[in-house]
């Protein structure tokens, strides 16, 4: 004699039957089956970059022999092929024989064989669609811009069609928080807070990022223990930056998308334009030389006049680009160091004196073998 149980998904239907409101016709059938498993230990896991795994535990009273268990998830969007149904006890003698899928229904039936009458705890794992997640950060930068307090928030919005009465939500880095979440509701939770995180401020003039000679102000955080982070890889998310104004409150100083940052890597955040540093480019020499047939070299001098109107000296990083085959010439000057990042990119560091005293970076190079 098959014993037939019916239960449904963690979502709306189940909550309804527990609380005892709505859907009286189906609720009656379930309540009559007193063995309706209570939803135990629901876990919602966000460790996959774009899938959400839901796990729920169900205790089911089985009879000796063959048992049939119906499971349905009408109204929610779960990937039926992804359902993993296992006894929690790895040594359980209970066997799941087969899974049958009825036509046109968000439901399935398990055939379960049990050696005796018993109560067995099962765990159901499945992928559920339409649960959105979002990471964002708040940084409060110290007045001297040497360190910051970094808050990491996790926000979930539930469009899955189900209601989570109470579930453990687990972020990618393993942080767990227990919350309820209605259909359509969003929740934002502080998951991490790091104090005294070291900060490097850079002024960057990059021909790919800057327009009209504007200089970018970047904050660079290193995701390492030494620098006050390094506990987890930092998820992609918006970082809103506030700075302590020295008067007990803060001012918003900019925001940027923080890229995914593994442990050990840098997160670079552009906070805005450094208006007190101006860069003006003049091409002083633009000659052709060494003609061979239709092939020629060029001899070019680019002069960057930099004015730092601040009251103190500042270091400017200039990231300059030249395409094709080229060589920098030895009489280039005005920099403290340079690095050829790749064939097309060169990076100069320039010490800029205070109060608008101009300094010139002379970048002399030859582009070779053009045609």
């Amino acid at each position: 004699m098959n014993k037939r149980l019916i239960f449904s998904l963690a979502g709306a239907a189940l909550v309804a039957s527990v609380v005892g409101i709505s859907q009286p016709d189906t609720a009656e059938a379930r309540i009559k089956l007193a063995t309706l498993p209570d939803k135990e230990a629901v876990v919602v896991r966000f460790d996959h970059p774009n899938q959400v795994l839901v796990e729920e535990e169900r205790t089911i009273s089985l009879q000796k022999g063959l048992n049939t268990v119906d499971y349905s998830w009408a109204g929610t969007n779960i990937d039926k092929g992804s359902i993993v149904f296992r006894a929690v006890d790895v040594n359980s003698k209970v066997e799941i024989l087969s899974t049958s899928y009825p036509p046109g229904e968000a439901a399935l039936t398990w055939s379960i064989s049990s050696p005796d009458a018993r109560s067995e705890k099962f765990r159901l794992s499945y992928l559920m669609a339409n649960i959105q997640r979002e990471t964002d950060y708040r940084a409060i930068v110290s007045n001297d811009e040497k360190s910051l307090t970094f808050r990491h928030y996790f926000k979930i919005r539930n469009w899955s069609g189900g209601t989570f009465d109470s579930a453990d939500f687990i972020t990618r880095d393993g942080k767990t928080f227990e919350k309820g979440l209605d259909q359509g509701e969003a929740k934002r939770v502080l998951v991490n807070k790091w104090e005294k995180v070291s900060l490097t401020k850079e002024y960057v003039y990059d021909q790919y990022r800057s327009s009209e000679g504007k200089v970018m102000t970047d904050y660079v955080l290193k995701n390492t223990k030494e620098m006050g982070l390094g506990a987890i890889p930092l998820e992609y998310g918006k970082v809103r930056i506030y700075q302590d104004d020295g008067k007990g409150t803060t001012a918003f100083t900019g925001e940027d998308w923080g890229q995914f940052t593994p442990i050990g890597d840098d997160m670079r955040l552009n906070i805005g334009i450094a208006q007190d540093i101006k860069v003006e480019l003049k091409k002083m020499v633009n000659d052709v030389e060494n003609r061979r047939g239709n092939v020629y070299d060029t001899n070019e001098v680019d002069e960057y006049e930099i004015k730092n109107f601040k009251d103190s000296e500042a270091e400017l990083i200039l990231v300059l680009r030249v395409q094709g085959e080229w060589e920098m010439q030895k009489d280039s000057e005005g920099y403290t160091s340079y690095e050829r990042i790749d064939n097309e990119t060169i990076k100069f560091k320039v010490k800029c004196p205070a109060k608008g005293t101009p300094i010139k970076l002379k970048f002399h190079y030859k582009r070779l073998n053009n045609w």
Binding site: R4, H48, L53, L66, L127, G264, V295, N343, W371
Partner: protein
């Protein structure tokens, strides 16, 4: 609204079943005598996954009179190929006593035929009626649970049978054919009334295969508890046949998933690969094992199907890793599961230098040949807390020379590859120089 499924099963229309009517004596119109049909004693389904094709064999016990017996077989509202329906006595005794003299397809119906069977020893005999139908298919699925260290995977294979044939097969024994067979016409087309264009199907192929499997025995578990159906696998010619133990009932419209095998602790290797030919241009994380004995597998080929991987997240909990559609994996073949790029192990390539040399001009001082010397740097960073294996394939084009201090080896004419282990939290830079002769400098 949810309704227990068994109610629906009971309400199921039985009318769609092929009807076998035994008509005694001729002429047809005048003295019809309808015999109450015996239940079919057994039914066996052989389902192919490469084609929409299922061979159905059913056995029934019929009583024959001396002389000619007319047997009518009809199959309204099913997807049976009328050209494939065959009648065959079972057993030596029956074969001696009865013989099919002719098969007639009456003009008034496309979904009926009549066999004239002569009998020299009136008695009850067992006969087999076989035919092809479409609408039943099967597919494989795999579910792997990777342990926390990613060193092993518990692999479970499933087969799912889908029945959209218009007919319910009750207590059928099920056999699944893995492999690609040759069909010249689609069964679903042959099943259309009026479209029958005669036998174009090389039935012999299938029958040969069938005979080889006659020995396969159903596994019965009579020890007080049912076990998951044993799925027997046997190779035959270019095919593999999976036989599901016992019998199954699959109502029309339903699908049923059965466990094919379960292997715990299949050794697993993680390799980060850049192999544009196989995995595209991303540096991607690939989980690897082999369908061989060393990996506790290798007993049979693995039919194509969706493989889902989960990671053991501790306390028996799961975390989803990824899914991919796996191709047919022969025995001893490697399985490489691309779980996608992993931000914790990265590869960046940049060109650090470009030079042109050996410029050649023609008589009009136009450049006709030159050679580029390009230097590249590949930086691999492992941010993970464990050692990882890395394999990088790099392809070049044209007439090139490849030079590197690192231990690259030639993969094919245009491709060099390198394989190494990268310690936890470390990085490695590879430098290479590619010299490419262009224009008249090219020797190719």
């Amino acid at each position: 609204m949810h309704r227990p499924f068994n109610q629906r099963e009971k309400n199921k229309m039985r009318l769609l079943l092929p009807i076998l009517a035994l008509l005694m004596a001729a002429p047809l119109v005048a003295k019809e005598e309808l015999v109450t049909l015996p239940e079919r004693d057994s039914v066996q389904l052989t389902i192919y996954n490469s084609e929409d094709l299922t061979l159905v064999r059913e056995r029934r016990r019929l009583t024959f009179k001396q002389g000619d017996n007319r047997i009518q077989f009809s199959w309204a509202n099913t997807l049976i190929d009328p050209t494939s329906v065959e009648f065959e006595p079972v057993g030596d005794e029956a074969k001696k006593a009865i013989e099919v003299r002719d098969t007639s397809y009456p003009a008034e119906s496309h979904e009926m035929l009549i066999w004239t069977v002569s009998c020299n020893q009136p008695a009850g005999y067992e006969v087999q009626i076989s035919y092809f139908t479409s609408g039943i298919s099967w597919s494989a699925e795999y579910s792997g649970i990777v342990d926390a260290t990613e060193d092993n995977v518990d692999l479970t294979a499933y087969v799912t049978v889908h029945n959209h044939s218009g007919e319910e097969y009750e207590n059928a024994s099920v056999r699944l054919v893995v492999g690609v067979i040759h069909l010249v016409e689609r069964i679903v087309d042959l099943a259309q009334p009026g479209e029958s264009t005669g036998r174009a199907w090389r039935r012999g192929d299938v029958e040969e295969m069938e005979r080889a499997l006659e020995d396969a025995k159903d596994e019965v578990n009579e020890d007080g508890m049912a076990r998951p159906k044993e799925i027997q696998k046997a190779g035959l010619s270019e095919y593999y046949i999976y036989t599901v133990g016992g019998t199954e009932t699959i109502p029309n419209g339903w699908s049923k998933r059965l466990r094919s095998f379960e292997v715990k602790g299949v050794p697993l290797k993680t390799v980060y690969r850049l192999e544009p030919d196989k995995f595209g241009w991303a540096f991607t994380k690939v989980l690897e094992f082999k369908n061989d004995e060393e990996h506790k597998l290798g007993k049979e080929p693995l039919p194509d199907g969706l493989l889902r991987l989960y990671r053991d997240a501790g306390e028996g909990r799961l975390s989803f890793m990824g899914a991919l559609a796996s191709k047919y994996i022969p025995k001893n073949e490697e399985v490489k599961v691309n779980v996608g790029p992993d931000a914790e192990c990265t590869l960046k390539e940049k060109r650090t230098s470009l030079k042109k040399k050996d410029l050649v001009f023609n008589q009009w001082s136009q450049l006709v040949g030159y050679t580029t010397v390009e230097m590249f740097e590949l930086e691999v960073k492992n941010f993970r807390a464990r050692d990882v294996e890395v394999e990088i394939h790099r392809s070049m084009a044209g007439d090139f020379d490849f030079a590197s201090e690192d231990k690259w080896e030639k993969h094919d004419a245009d491709t060099q590859k390198i394989h190494f282990t990268l310690k936890a939290g470390s990085e490695r830079k590879l430098a290479l120089t590619v010299t490419t002769r262009q224009g008249t400098n090219s020797r190719k």
